[in-house]
Point group: C2
Chain length 204, copies 2
DNA sequence: TTAAATTTAGAACAAATGTACTAATTATTT
DNA sequence: AAATAATTAGTACATTTGTTCTAAATTTAA
């Protein structure tokens, strides 16, 4: 693995375990056993390391969403596996979510990118919900506005479940993912038709 | 107003507008026109300023929750006014929510306090939901576990709506509160009985 | 094999930060 | 009025940080 890639890997580890504000370029270099000068040869500015990691998270998540969007019909087990895959990705890059506002402030490009992304995602999610309505999974009596609010809820919980975990239960790895994917599943419950509810109960 | 109080007021202003990581004790002193030495006479450590502000937020929120808990019967308009009051308080101390994980890392007492608080609040909220079930506002067919997940959802959205706003819409003041209180109202919608739904529709 | 390019180490710099220290000023008490 | 306590300004210090610079070492190309 070349140095640039090793820097990214080490940075991710350190940021995830110690937070984005306590870790400096010197820490990363020290942990790798290279000089600060060398690190700054590969990344002139420390923020570029963070930006690169954010871009990778963003690209990886794009792939996940695209795979769901491509489906003709969406059902609950698919949603559940989508949720788990997303949470796993989030956990991998958890420092970004734990310090989202900080990072957005430090690196305006991240903020801009995320704001644009959200608008796109909102439409994508609403279209998935329409599919769920059409296939009798979602209740037909929910006003557009309620579904829109549900999308925002999902974004907020999706972006900040890691922060909630950090401040309360502090679950690690697969335990965290299991716990919060249950919460996600429960979030969907009141939106389901009685038939879908029965199915959901059985699958848990 | 004595100096100590002025420090807290100025710190809150600066933290809210510039973030907790960019503002230092020197910035606060400069903005007030006092010396750094004077500031550190009143607060030996900068973190004490943040801790004091957190304690005030916590105490203020206690009052709000207690006033709801004291009610014999809870209905939707009361919930709505509870939501608005809470969001207003959150907005006042928004820097805390925008940097919750940071602050928890910097000041372990905050993290401890919040973790304990959450456990208490979970019970309080569940008991409010039981009241809502009893008075025919909440659907009777919701499993305990779904209600528990709803409480967590409310906590996450309640703690991070400001971060979401910061990263996307960037609404200011009453506009932010209006928008996110609508989202909170919509969150409740699928949990309501048909009768309560009708009432809710009329009130908007 | 020699020349050129890339990569690396290590030192050095300037700015910022938290906070301690000292002395002066102001307020309070006796 | 004198003595004591509280408050304030201003300076100073040690540490940290991001980054730059220089020169050495290593790799690649010719």
């Amino acid at each position: 693995m070349d140095t640039k890639e090793r820097i990214l890997k080490t940075a991710l580890e350190l940021y995830n375990s110690q937070g984005v504000n306590t870790i400096t370029s010197r820490h990363i270099a020290a942990k790798m056993g290279i000089s600060p000068g060398n690190l700054h040869y590969h990344f002139k500015h420390t923020d570029e390391i963070i930006k690169t990691l954010y871009d990778r998270l963003s690209a990886d998540f794009d792939v996940i969403v695209a795979s769901v969007e491509a489906l003709e019909e969406v059902d609950l087990p698919m949603i559940r596996s989508f949720v788990i895959t997303s949470l796993e990705l989030g956990y991998k890059y958890r420092f970004i979510f734990l310090h989202f506002v900080e990072i957005g402030l430090r690196i305006p490009a991240v903020k801009k990118d995320y704001a644009a992304l959200t608008q796109r995602r909102e439409k994508e999610f609403l279209s998935i919900f329409e599919k769920l309505k059409a296939s009798g999974v979602f209740r037909p009596d929910l006003p557009e506005e309620v579904l829109k609010a549900f999308v925002t809820q999902i974004f907020i919980v999706g972006d900040f479940w890691l922060s909630n975990n950090e401040l309360t239960l502090k679950l690690k790895g697969s335990k965290a993912i299991a716990h919060y994917s249950d919460i996600f599943s429960s979030m969907f419950y009141p939106y389901l038709t009685p038939a879908a509810m029965q199915l959901a109960k059985g699958n848990e």
